[in-house]
């Protein structure tokens, strides 16, 4: 790791000021991606601005059909929160699948959403539930937020404060994890919302995306069989040593069916 300066601001405003003063500074959440990246010298920030202890970034609240989760909330705390389990059990389930126990004890919601790893789990829930990303500057709809491989709508100096999830009628997540890394080879989050069905896919493409053809098919029937023959262009998907495009396309369809199977079961 290159030498750097670690700073722990006392407020969100101070954190923003630090970012503005040091153009090469980077925000630090749980560090579950950033610290290994630094160790490999793939990044050389002048400062690490640790925002995990900012009070503005903490807390889980449920009210008026919305579930708000502070950006510094750890995966373990989302997975085990009785409030999350009641409001959106699929989200608690998803958080419990991220990485491994040690990673879940440090990694944060905001860190995952800001990093937007194409195989991360949280982006599927954020997009699938049509959540809103609240930053220190504005509110961003999930549909506008995710912009492909590690790319988001976040601007320089913008800090995610919390994510607001509308509580769906029902939702479910099914993931085929890579057996070594635990990252999603394909993960599909389906949600039945007031505005219809949403299907978000992670792990399979260059970034999380909505499978709109499936959403249209599910508007007519919620049976898993409704996804047979629904178009999914394999050419758009990832290909690597772990799986071909066609294999990933098949995984997406199978995971979507599994998620639908869960959807019809308990909430």
């Amino acid at each position: 790791m290159y030498a750097l300066n670690y700073v722990r601001p006392g407020s969100l405003a101070e954190a923003a000021k630090l970012l503005a003063a040091h153009p090469e500074a980077k925000l630090l959440g749980g560090g579950m991606t950033l610290v290994p990246t630094l160790k490999q010298r793939l990044a050389k920030p002048s400062h690490l601005v640790d925002i995990t202890q900012l009070p503005e970034l903490h807390g889980i609240r449920a009210a008026k059909g919305r579930l708000e989760i502070g950006a510094a909330t750890k995966h373990h705390d989302v997975a085990t929160s009785s409030m999350v389990r009641r409001a959106v059990p699929a989200l608690a389930y998803l958080a419990g699948l991220i990485g491994d126990p040690q990673v879940r004890n440090l990694g944060t919601l905001g860190g995952s959403v800001a990093n937007n790893d194409p195989a991360a789990d949280y982006p599927a829930a954020v997009l699938g539930l049509a959540a809103t990303i609240v930053t220190n500057k504005r509110e961003i709809a999930a549909d506008d937020y995710f912009q492909g491989l590690f790319a988001t709508a976040l601007e320089e100096g913008e800090i995610i404060v919390r994510v607001v999830f509308p509580v769906p009628k029902r939702a479910a997540y099914a993931k085929f994890p890579h057996p070594a890394s635990g990252y999603a080879m394909a993960g599909v989050f389906v949600a039945r919302t007031g505005e219809g069905m949403r299907v978000a896919v992670t792990g399979a493409g260059p970034g999380v995306f909505r499978w709109r053809e499936a959403e249209a098919a599910l508007a007519k029937s919620l049976r898993p069989a409704a996804l047979e023959g629904v178009a999914l262009d394999a050419a758009e998907l990832n290909e690597d040593i772990h799986a071909s495009r066609e294999y990933r396309a098949n995984l997406v369809r199978v995971m979507a069916k599994r998620a639908l199977g869960k959807l019809s079961g308990r909430k």
Binding site: M1, Y6, M32, L48, H76, D100, P101, Q102, V103, L106
Partner: protein
């Protein structure tokens, strides 16, 4: 440089270290606690698992300064008054190791797992140790050791 104070196995230590110092290096190089191993150094293997404020983390993926002020428990803090911790005893009795390199991490991960789930199923044990790799045993005896640990710890709580 950062002035870092950690309470490690009940003893408070303050050291001035570079900001980039990893927690595992703080423990091994500054405090001489070499029971916490560095296996893969890429946050895969879990050999470096320690507890920070009661939660298992991989100390090779955390800066010491990030956890400034925290309570840390390492493998050296498990045995009390020369008597092995029940989890250590179970790993020994079930032969839940061969070369022993991953064992400190396995034991700290097991302690974390059993705190959350005192009576885990085999499935929960396997998932609960997903962050730890063993290249010798094939895990069979490790799972046995975790089951026995759970039994011993339950007995201790009731007794």
């Amino acid at each position: 440089m950062a002035r870092v104070t950690l309470t490690v196995n009940g003893v408070k230590h303050t050291k001035t270290v570079e900001d980039r110092t990893l927690l595992v290096n703080f423990l091994r190089d500054e405090l001489g606690l070499t029971g916490t191993h560095i296996g893969c150094d890429t946050s895969q293997c879990g050999c470096c698992t320690v507890h920070v404020n009661g939660r298992a983390v991989k100390s090779c993926s955390v800066l010491a300064v990030q956890v400034n002020g925290a309570e840390i428990v390492t493998i050296e803090g498990m045995a009390k008054k020369g008597k092995l911790h029940p989890i250590q005893r179970a790993f020994s009795e079930c032969h839940g190791l061969q070369c022993g390199f991953c064992t400190p991490g396995m034991i700290m991960a097991t302690a974390g797992l059993l705190r959350d789930r005192p009576n885990p199923t085999e499935e929960e044990i396997i998932h609960g140790l997903e962050g730890n790799l063993c290249r010798c045993t094939g895990y069979i005896n490790i799972v046995k050791a975790v089951k026995m640990s759970a039994k011993l710890l339950r007995g201790r709580r009731h007794g």
